[in-house]
Assembly symmetry: C2
Homo-oligomer: 343 residues x 2
């Protein structure tokens, strides 16, 4: 089990990525740090851990995809970028999974064109785990495909189900379609057509439309949506959380009494807020690509990077790719399409 | 100046609506309480304020539109509903504006078919004021039109500009289109085409695409989007806020020390959170209808109802309808369309 880590991707890379790899030095998988060998070696020397851990190697790559690079251009022009090389290691059989905290659009493009889609997959999807009252909810697509057709959302439901089963050990996961209300007449032309497709699929436990609030209360295990709406949903939730945390901080800074209150409340608040912390999983999944791919937040710290590495390893070991491939192959079969991959 | 208040609409009606009207008893406008006369009179007697205030009258209506009623059916079958009658008072010249905390879909339908659109308006839009770091941001459409065309978003921009100028006294309001990122290649076919239309309109101060986080930081004064995305945006922000407030409460209830902390922090927290309180304005605006219409939250309390009444009165006095009509007429003119309304 070898994971290619894009050591140069992310706002705090390579500090955060190298520290994350070091934090996973006790893991039972190998980590290939992809990026500028000189810079990475320097980071490791600075960490004073007695050199590269036994489960780590470095694969030199000269270029870096920046957050503001256009995905297509990054893929074409920066052929020796750490991000692209990470996917090439998987394509060449030298790695089993990719972890990046870098440009998610470029990761999608590299996944599509360097590694390729799983058989039957029309569109890969970026898949987030959103914290709910009890357990995380699988939401996809949160950004890969802005303009979607109903059959894309149907495939997202199948891939999301496979991920909920393998990654979260849910049995017969409840699937919903994100909408502006739960009544039958709600939704767009897209959500209505997707609802019908998903409801008609006996492989899926469809529970209907879900409003944003239903995601947070855990009314479904898998919530599917187009990548535009999903991205707006995710970014709105993040921005609102950030704003609320700032308001609590401001309140606590507004005088001596509230300041004392804030100090007394802080430890308990930290532990309840930790439930919302995406760092536990380390990032979003790129589902539909023929490689386990974890895309972390650009702002990821070393703990997030270590978690992303462990998540990638576990999903690979638990056979996520086979399950996603199987879910789509079975869905294809009744329509008369040949199974693309021999089972 | 007479405002028709749907006294039976909302989760806490008629308690909240009657109390809201009583709280506005000192206002310099008339309030027509529309709904079951017996129930409303009883509420007023219970309030022990010495009977109906001089600026209030009751208009009897026998039926009530429920939150779960389908808008079309509610309009057709409940012809004597408090909601429909409120709009009929405006259509008949007996009232100048409508305030309801009831079913927003039914309010839209009643506005469209009983009062009618302003000249040139293709689609009315539900318009929210979203709290940002400094001042509220106008966001539309947040629910009236789930499937939109680019020209609808262009009209939303024009109506939103008029509202920002009249209602919020902004000069040359900055207009943005809600999207999944601010780079040129972001967005959907719809947002790209709408961007071009809005950018090409010299009457609008277009500042480009806005991410959800940009709304909360106030990077624009007016943010336009289709009613599906806008509704998901608004409901996600509301659900996230609710979840965060619950987490703070849970933290404060988790032990003696955090409880003390919570007590000391609470007054300051209340005052910072008040900034997010939609009750200040009392609701969303239904723009594009030939009547000032404020649609409050179903859960509105008496303070929200009173604020909604004051907002409606102020917008009517300040000539919002004329400004919205003018904005669209001017936009129509270059295309050769005749001005529908003599100026």
């Amino acid at each position: 089990m070898r994971i290619a880590l894009d050591a140069m991707g992310g706002d705090h890379a390579p500090d955060s990525t190298v520290a994350g790899a070091l934090a996973a030095a006790d893991a039972d998988f190998e980590i290939i740090l992809v990026g500028d060998e000189g810079i990475i070696s320097e980071q490791i020397a600075d960490a004073k851990v007695g050199g590269l851990p036994p489960n780590c190697t470095i694969r030199h790559a000269t270029e870096v995809v920046e957050m503001e690079d256009s995905p297509a251009a990054a893929l074409r022009r920066k052929r020796d970028s750490s991000l692209r090389v990470a996917f090439e290691l998987v394509a060449g059989g030298q790695a089993d999974a990719v972890v990046t905290m870098g440009n998610s659009g470029a990761a999608l493009a590299a996944g599509m064109f360097v590694v390729g889609r799983l058989p039957s997959v029309i569109r890969p999807a970026i898949t987030a785990l959103v914290p709910s009252r009890n357990a995380p909810v699988v939401v996809l697509d949160v950004g890969a495909n802005v303009d979607c057709r109903p059959e894309h959302l149907h495939q997202f439901a199948l891939m999301g189900r496979a991920f909920a089963e393998v990654g979260l050990r849910r049995e017969s996961p409840r699937v919903a379609v994100l909408a502006n209300g739960t009544e039958d007449e709600k939704g767009t032309d897209l959500t209505r057509a997707a609802s019908q497709l998903i409801d008609a699929d006996p492989a899926l436990n469809y529970v209907g439309l879900a409003e944003p609030g239903d995601v947070f209360t855990g009314a479904a295990d898998v919530v599917v949506t187009d990548g535009f709406t999903g991205n707006v949903f995710l970014k709105t939730a993040e921005a609102t959380s950030t704003q609320m945390v700032e308001l609590v901080r401001e309140a606590a800074a507004s005088g001596v009494v509230p300041k004392l209150g804030g100090l007394l409340l802080r430890p308990a608040l930290r532990s309840t807020l930790a439930r919302l912390d995406a760092a536990e999983v380390g990032g979003a999944l790129l589902l539909g690509i023929d490689a386990i791919t974890v895309i972390g937040h650009g702002s990821a710290d070393s703990r997030s990077v270590a978690n992303a590495l462990r998540t990638a390893a576990r999903l690979h070991t638990d056979g996520l790719l086979d399950r996603v491939g199987e879910a789509l192959r079975v869905a294809d079969a009744p329509a008369g399409a040949p199974a693309v991959r021999p089972s």
